[in-house]
Symmetry: C2
Subunit: 496 residues, 2 copies
């Protein structure tokens, strides 16, 4: 395979951008390409221009807008990791020898829509059955977080402290990043004072809605930064069909390939930009990448190991949280950040020689890992084994014909920012039925008694499942009823 | 570059398919992959699942649906040539050595929506300014056809005869194709009796709305069919910004690369599947591919040269017209057809050794050419030069601030099948103003006096341009008014 290097790499100013997507990409293109620099092709990562701006045929539209009419232009899309997907396609095109130098653009225009409309569009990445209940990306991320908390036996306070430490770190890092949407630090009080989007996730646990674009030139001609490893993996789409909730096997598959290709492992990485669309995802990513043991990523963040001054800085750019998250752009924005950091173009003091990016598509369903390094990066061979990728097949059981049944809460959340058509607050639970199936259900009442393991009644109306938590009295009555039935049976047995 | 070969290649039954897109892809996958056949990755060509079925994150969704969870899955999109774009990305991935064997899937689910909703969604591929007037794909194709008729001095009857001959040929070919949506021949009377969609295009000039999927396995391991050439090019998005109307430079750019890579030219091609979304596009494609001289493609079709028994069969499968046009699928469906034909798996009698596919994205804005050949294909070196690709830059003039002006009709159509929100019939004209700009405008009245070269008044309301054809009386009045002004000026001059 031919070697591939990074040429120009820029970001536009992330935030609310009044310009059209074409104009934003125009600025990114002019920033990345030197005067009269020729490119053989354009690869474009955009997640959903069809619904965000009503434009289909976006590759042609942008080729025209940035002055590259005639040049082959291809849109590559894997939901919120589209920017990384475009980079990978461009990498393969050059590695094959088909092209010599290509421009990769990735971006999104989102802030012109209402939060509820944006939430609805973003929710289309999740399973249609789960969407029907009003599930959103933050809601499912919250359910994963609750499961993580329970699995690794964290108290509510411990979880809060860990998530807070990540939000504070990324905001503190964002202060130094001139491209970031939020260039201001936040305090613990600000974090704790922010509203819940979906319990236990607060506003400051969620990446913002952002406009912005990233541009990267890839070339066969050597530069100071080499793209030494790339990998991609997918995961089970539906939460209902998963065996693993607290890890994204897709990241592990992608990492295994990227590490092998770069002939290194977690120990060879100086710093990383990971997909912190939600603060708990930063923890899960650092565990899936092999930086920390499962359940220990939070401790590492809390203890400052992932700070800019720590042993393994994570998201020195501020991450999606502070830099902003124009969904299609983020996977490529990370590559720009790592490149700029390796080149010493970002104002952080430390010198790094090998960086990694991890980008997440959907709810961990289409993830990418990319490794970039300088020519003076030391060889650090470090074998690494995937731990949960084998559990990556959906577990589907035949749907039940029953209209009502019972089950136990596997995980849950109370959603406060709902998509179009759903009124907050909205209780959602993943319920495990007696025969082992998982069902996403909407709470019939706003019950504050939600807890993992609690027993619920389920009923189905028009394909939508509703749940009600069994009250203490109901459980007593049921036990008594069972006792009576047994007694009656025993009595009739004795009478025979 | 490593060689790439075609393994399994199948189509589902094109037409109205009640199944979900996931189920349709499942059938295609099972058809293309042998039992236990491993693939390293999935490339997916879909045009607009976001709006057709409300699904974003389609690559993950389909990976799950076809049983490939875990496997890297990427959606590649270039509007209606998405299937060809997915094939090209997959080609590069194998040519690079990154993957050994990949599955390419392409498809679309469209028939569940109303024709007006589908028309609106498909119209999103065209320039937003043109969409505002109610322009649709058939409407712009009709305007291109009218321009072609005028440029090559075809009478209305001659054009009708040519287009009819293509519709009849493709329907006759479809009879022999078991995958085709329409497996029935049509008569000249049926063609002439069909309604106008947008003059001069009738229903039988337009490809139908179709559900369906194609699957192709690409592999480095040699098989009987080699992917010997691939190329892509883009073109000016907006009709208003074009210099060339009767050719798609994007096809020529793509063809130049594909021919060069396959070390052949038009004379080396035994047969071709081209993108006849509209019958006139088949003519334009055969000219852009160098098969016939500009303006002569229609004659070739009319004379039977492109019949299944002709010197250069075009669309032996029935083309998009008879096989059907699930938009994302078509570019890959063509590759399946050529592969099956080379393998003797289609019931046409002739033996071919090298075939070409040409796929069109949008209004000729993102086109692909692919060449496939058997091991016994003879070497036919045939140099070939692009003729109009150099005219591929958009010509944009500053928009005028004037609220009303005058111009001349460059081309026009009367649209009878309109998108949601526009009542038929709708007159559309591309108007050239006195200073040389082109403006897409909506007719204020349903004027039957539309003709290329006719003078019109233009007025602008809320960004939308409206035109009215100057009547004979108006032209007389204007001439008289000018005469009066001149007389008054002369008189005042004399009086000085």
């Amino acid at each position: 395979m031919r070697s591939v290097y990074v040429g120009g790499a820029v970001l536009t100013q992330f935030g609310k951008d009044p310009r059209s997507l074409g104009e934003i990409f125009c600025e990114a293109t002019q920033g990345a390409l030197a005067d009269n620099e020729h490119v053989d092709a354009l690869y474009l990562g955009v997640m959903n221009p069809e619904e965000f701006t009503g434009d289909s045929n976006i590759a042609s539209l942008i080729a025209d807008a940035v002055g590259l009419t005639g040049v082959p232009a291809t849109r590559v899309e894997t939901a919120s990791s589209a920017g990384a997907a475009a980079l990978m396609a461009a990498f393969q095109a050059i590695a094959s020898g088909y092209y010599e130098r290509v421009l990769v653009l990735a971006g999104e225009k989102m802030t012109h829509l209402s939060t509820s409309a944006t939430t609805r569009i973003l929710a289309e990445v999740i399973d249609p059955r789960e969407r029907l209940c009003g599930a959103t990306m933050p809601a499912l991320a919250a359910m994963i977080t609750e499961k993580y908390r329970q699995k690794f036996r964290l108290s509510d306070t411990r979880l809060e402290n860990i998530l807070c430490s990540i939000a504070l770190k990324n905001h503190a890092n964002g202060v130094k990043n001139p491209s970031a949407q939020f260039q201001r630090a936040i305090s613990r009080d600000t974090y704790l004072g922010s509203k819940f989007v979906a319990t236990p996730l607060r506003l400051y646990d969620c990446a913002p809605i952002t406009d912005g674009a990233a541009a990267v030139v890839l070339t066969h001609e050597p530069t100071d930064v080499r793209l030494s490893g790339v990998g991609q993996g997918t995961g089970v789409l539906s939460l209902q069909d998963r065996q693993v909730f607290t890890s994204f096997p897709s990241t592990q598959i992608a990492a295994a390939r990227a590490y092998a290709m770069a002939n290194t492992g977690p120990k060879g990485i100086d710093f990383a930009e990971v997909h912190d669309a939600f603060t708990p995802f930063e923890i899960i990513s650092t565990e899936d990448l092999g930086f920390f043991l499962p359940g220990k990523g939070g401790d590492a963040a809390f203890e400052g190991k992932t700070n800019l001054e720590g042993t393994l800085p994570i998201n020195p750019s501020g991450g999606l949280k502070a830099r902003g998250h124009p969904v299609g752009a983020s996977g490529l924005a990370q590559v720009v950040e790592v490149t700029k950091t390796l080149r010493g173009e970002r104002p952080w003091r430390r010198e790094f020689r090998r960086g990694l990016t991890q980008s997440t598509g959907g709810l961990g369903t289409n993830n990418f890992v990319t490794i970039l390094e300088r020519a003076d990066a030391p060889v650090v061979q470090n074998s690494w084994t995937v731990t949960t990728a084998l559990a990556n097949k959906p577990v589907r059981t035949a749907p039940s014909a029953r209209l009502s049944e019972e089950g136990v809460i596997e995980t849950f959340t109370m959603v406060y920012v709902t998509p179009d058509g759903f009124l907050p607050p909205l209780a959602l639970a993943l319920v495990r039925t007696a025969d082992g199936r998982l069902i996403m259900a909407q709470g019939e009442e706003n019950d504050s008694a939600l807890k993992i393991g609690r027993e619920v009644y389920l009923r189905r109306i028009d394909g939508l499942y509703l749940f009600t938590v069994k009250s203490h009295m109901q459980r007593v009555q049921e036990a008594f009823s069972k006792f009576l039935h047994r007694k009656v049976a025993e009595t009739s047995q004795e009478n025979k």
